[in-house]
């Protein structure tokens, strides 16, 4: 369907869809994202939903939102301020309106704004009537519930089911407004509701009715068009971080000719990795939903002992429970991957919100001297690469490797340039071969990486006993010898530290010297990169460097920081990376710390960069 109204070309749009948890906003958002990605736009998303499955309907606590930016240029964030906001009820409106830019489009489901809804949202009067709203935004009131009911009446559905179609009506309207094709969503409806033909056709009707409403209503004079982005040539798909982690793990398993064991316990926001992996049993993936986090970790170690690619994942509270066993994994010197999809802490904290506050837990959250390699993906698509990288490091060094992801990139999505399988390098793993009984075998004899042999049960003559008690060098026998303990502690630490020799040098975006370096890590890449890009365009001598390898740090990091008068470390925590940098390099980094359960906005980073540039350099 093509519009007969005027079409205005814009370079990008940021839109948020907000409604009740039961209103299907996540579905709407995902569809809009996929459709935009298929249209060739660069996309970035930010789903934001409550921890409660169904908080009381209509309340502020129950508001679920999905933000997407689609653009014809390369983008790295889901956008700061909204060009358009769709709200299904007053609770959604009052909790989201502050992010809509002045003059932005506000589409409200008028039928969701009744006296009862005001009471549930704890607002005194209809917020749509407020002068400030009407003066500040282009408010378009649409009686979506009524229009949907009328449109789908021919399908003879119960009013309850009919009302559920209203998110598709909203979708149709949004698609019209931004010139999106209905086809991908029509295909989706067919796949999803194919078994319930009446529901499927009602949703199709609602979708088309929404589109037609946009085309006919006088409220909209024009629609918008965002042309395809100039992305690198290749085949793309839209991917979420957790999904990318799962695919990366499967790829790593294939690249190393190993079956995978994934032991885990359900926890937000890591569970989707399990949901994805369990679909891929035909790749030799065995998933184990354990009775608790500790069991998940220990079963992972058991599988690693047996010679399998072993992986576990959790979030902060679960990682806390796994800590003792992770220490054992380090002591046994077996390869495995431990993923922490971080969320707001401490304790249960903010389960569905993002934070980077488990970095020090990853570094130091085990008893004794127990360093582990830590890497952190920088975006949803990067999760794929970092999963493979984790397994490469784990097997090269015989050590558990931690991946620090976070809720923001886990649930966020972006286009992923699908790699050709031959571009992925093989991960070489060797197990020592059997020997005659009686010949000596030294399970803790090390190679040039200080890795011990991965001798697996079933191999003749290599019988050995592992354990958490301190090992004697080479033999692995229990040893209480003081000098041996010091030697072993130092050796295990050196093994991890030496990984710095085999990871890429830290790169800088911008000049290698200047007034200020923004040094970030993990999921904040997009916002930091965009902020620095804009500051550079504004003529500031600012550069950006983003860490994906946290322990050990890349070798040139200390030298790199010396090129700048100031080092600004923005983090979604109270300064954890900054503490590590200061401790290691004695550099007086400046922190910019946010713990609101939300990602950085580009604007607040720019503001911070400019404020730092305006202040004198510390002596």
């Amino acid at each position: 369907m093509t519009t007969k109204k005027e079409v205005k070309s814009v370079s990008g749009i940021t839109v948020r869809l907000a409604g009740d948890s039961g209103d299907g906003m996540q579905l709407l958002g995902t569809q809009l994202t996929n459709t935009s990605a298929l249209a060739g736009n660069d996309v970035a998303t930010f789903p934001d939903f409550p921890a409660e499955i169904r908080a009381p309907r209509g309340t502020r606590a129950g508001v679920s939102g999905f933000q997407v930016q689609f653009a014809q240029t390369e983008i790295f964030t889901p956008g700061d301020t909204l060009d358009a906001l769709v709200v299904m009820n007053p609770a959604a409106m009052v909790t989201n309106i502050q992010d809509l830019r002045k003059g932005g489009i506000l589409i409200a489901n008028e039928d969701g704004f009744t006296e009862k809804d005001f009471k549930l949202a704890k607002v005194d009067a209809n917020p749509l009537d407020a002068t400030v709203i009407n003066d500040s935004y282009r408010l378009i009131k649409v009686p979506m519930t009524q229009l949907t009911r009328t449109a789908v009446s021919e399908h003879g559905l119960s009013p309850k089911i009919a009302d559920r179609c209203k998110n598709f009506f909203a979708m149709g309207l949004v698609y019209w407004l931004f010139g999106r094709s209905l086809d991908p969503t029509l295909r989706f409806i067919e796949n999803k509701f194919g078994r319930k033909p009446d529901v499927a056709s009602a949703n199709v009707t609602a979708l088309r009715a929404g589109w037609a409403y946009g085309e006919t209503t006088e409220a909209f004079g024009e629609s918008y068009q965002v042309d395809a982005a100039d992305l690198k040539p290749g085949t793309y798909r839209n991917i979420m971080g957790n999904q990318a982690l799962a695919l990366g793990l499967v790829a790593a398993s294939r690249l190393s000719n190993k079956d995978m064991f994934y032991g885990t316990y359900p926890i937000t926001p890591a569970s989707d990795i399990l949901h994805e992996l369990t679909k891929h049993k035909n790749f030799g993936v065995r998933t184990f939903q354990a009775e608790d986090e500790i069991s998940a970790m220990c079963a992972t170690i058991g599988a690693a002992f047996g010679g399998t690619m072993a992986v576990t994942a959790s979030s902060g509270p679960g990682i806390a429970l796994k800590a003792e066993a992770m220490g054992l994994g380090m002591m046994l010197e077996l390869p495995m991957i431990v993923i922490n999809v971080q969320r707001g802490g401490p304790s249960t904290g903010l389960p569905t919100k993002t934070e980077q506050s488990d970095l020090l837990q990853a570094m130091f959250g085990r008893n004794g001297e127990s360093p582990l390699p830590i890497i952190a993906p920088q975006s949803p698509a990067d999760c794929f690469d970092m999963a493979i990288e984790a397994w490469r490091i784990a097997t090269e060094c015989m050590v558990p490797v931690m991946i620090l992801s976070d809720g923001y990139i886990a649930n966020g999505s972006e286009p992923w340039k699908i790699p050709t399988t031959d571009s992925l390098s093989h991960i070489k793993i060797e197990h020592p071969a059997g020997i005659e009984a009686g010949e000596p075998f030294l399970p803790y004899l090390r190679d040039e990486n200080l890795a011990r042999p991965w001798a697996i049960p079933g191999t003749e003559g290599l019988m050995h006993r592992l354990g958490g008690l301190e090992k004697e060098n080479e033999t692995g026998n229990v040893s209480y010898d003081p000098a041996n303990h010091q030697f072993m502690v130092e050796t295990r630490a050196a093994k991890v530290a030496n990984i710095a020799d085999r990871i890429p040098d830290q790169e800088v975006f911008g000049e290698s010297s200047g007034d200020l370096l923004v040094l970030s890590w993990g999921g904040t890449y997009g916002a930091c990169h965009t902020a620095v890009q804009r500051c550079q365009q504004a003529g500031h001598r600012v550069s950006h460097t983003h860490l994906r390898y946290i322990n050990p740090f890349p070798k040139n990091l200390g030298e790199l920081m010396k090129g700048f008068d100031r080092v600004l470390v923005p983090e979604l925590n109270m300064g954890q990376l900054r503490m590590l940098l200061r401790a290691k390099y004695l550099v007086d980094c400046i922190g910019f710390n946010k713990v609101q359960g939300k990602p950085f906005a580009v604007s607040e980073l720019i503001e911070q960069i400019e404020a730092q540039l305006a202040s004198p350099v510390a002596a």
């Binding site: 996929n34 990605a37 298929l38 060739g40 395809a228 992305l231 690198k232 040539p233 290749g234 085949t235 793309y236 798909r237 839209n238 695919l247 499967v250 790829a251 294939r254 079956d259 064991f261 032991g263 049993k281 035909n282 030799g284 993936v285 065995r286 184990f288 354990a290 009775e291 608790d292 500790i294 069991s295 220990c298 079963a299 170690i301 058991g302 599988a303 002992f305 047996g306 010679g307 399998t308 066993a325 054992l328 046994l332 790699p419 399988t421 059997g434 049960p457 079933g458 191999t459 003559g461 290599l462 019988m463 050995h464 006993r465 592992l466 354990g467 958490g468 008690l469 026998n477 229990v478």
Partner: protein, 336 residues
Amino acid sequence: MSLPVLKAADFASDQDVRWCPGCGDYAILAQMKKVLPELGVPREKIVFISGIGCSSRFPYYMNTYGMHSIHGRAPTFATGLKSTRPDLMVWVITGDGDALSIGGNHFIHVLRRNLDINIVLFNNRIYGLTKGQYSPTSSEGQVTKSTPMGSIDHPLNPLSVALAAEATFVARTLDAHVKHLGTVLKRASEHKGTSLVEVYQNCNVFNDGAMAYAQEKKQRADNVVELEHGKPLVFGKENEKGIRLVGNHLEIVNRSDVQDDDLLIHDEKDPNPSIQMMLARMRYPEMPEPIGVLRQVEGVATYNDQINDQVALAKQKQGEGELEKLFHSGDTWVVN
């Protein structure tokens, strides 16, 4: 080609055994080394996994693969290992504190999953390695280092717990009754599914004689009933006493007073664990305590079989996984 014939000594590692002199653990170690050669499983195919505690040093003394893991968690390591390496014979060595206190959760779950492993639970009713605190199986009122006024905990019965989890093999034996011990260990190893063997094990340092009523030969006949499948429950020095089921409870009778047909016939194969639970609940001094196999039920799928069957089935249905196909699943688009 025939397998080399192994002897008990072939299963001894080169490490010095460091349990206290007189500890019941020695007898269990000796019986294990005696039983393993009879199974015809090569040493490299056997793995011992333990938690923490005196008993958990066991793997260090066996010339097989082994892992001395962390407190209470041995069944979970075994789950990861056996699920991915069903070709291995896996033994879990644990104690009353390890399995029933800190590891209680895993103990229940491994049993209900019916992972094909053997668990040997050394029950000495005390914490030995931490030097004498009461354990979850210590008697009520027991005075220990941590209970100078007597324990106020009601003890846990591992057999009852195992039966409640509907474990498929549940047995009890005694470190002092080495022949019985060997037989039960062998039967456990032959069972497909999780086998739980509780061993009454004497801690001669911190809880000496706690189970003397069962361990000492002179007392044993009167205080222990040896279960045999299909046989009536009889005990006593002259086998003069029996157990019969009256209504919903068990009682001791003199065999001279009743017909043998009236005695309870032991049925370890009964899938319904109710009567086996009644046996598990027989406690000294009111009743003789059962030893032998309380329950051995066949035909229950094992966790390791099922997890691997699903992989095989997925390969059969979806075809062997191809990365190319996986990467391109869903909507894709091409940028030129």
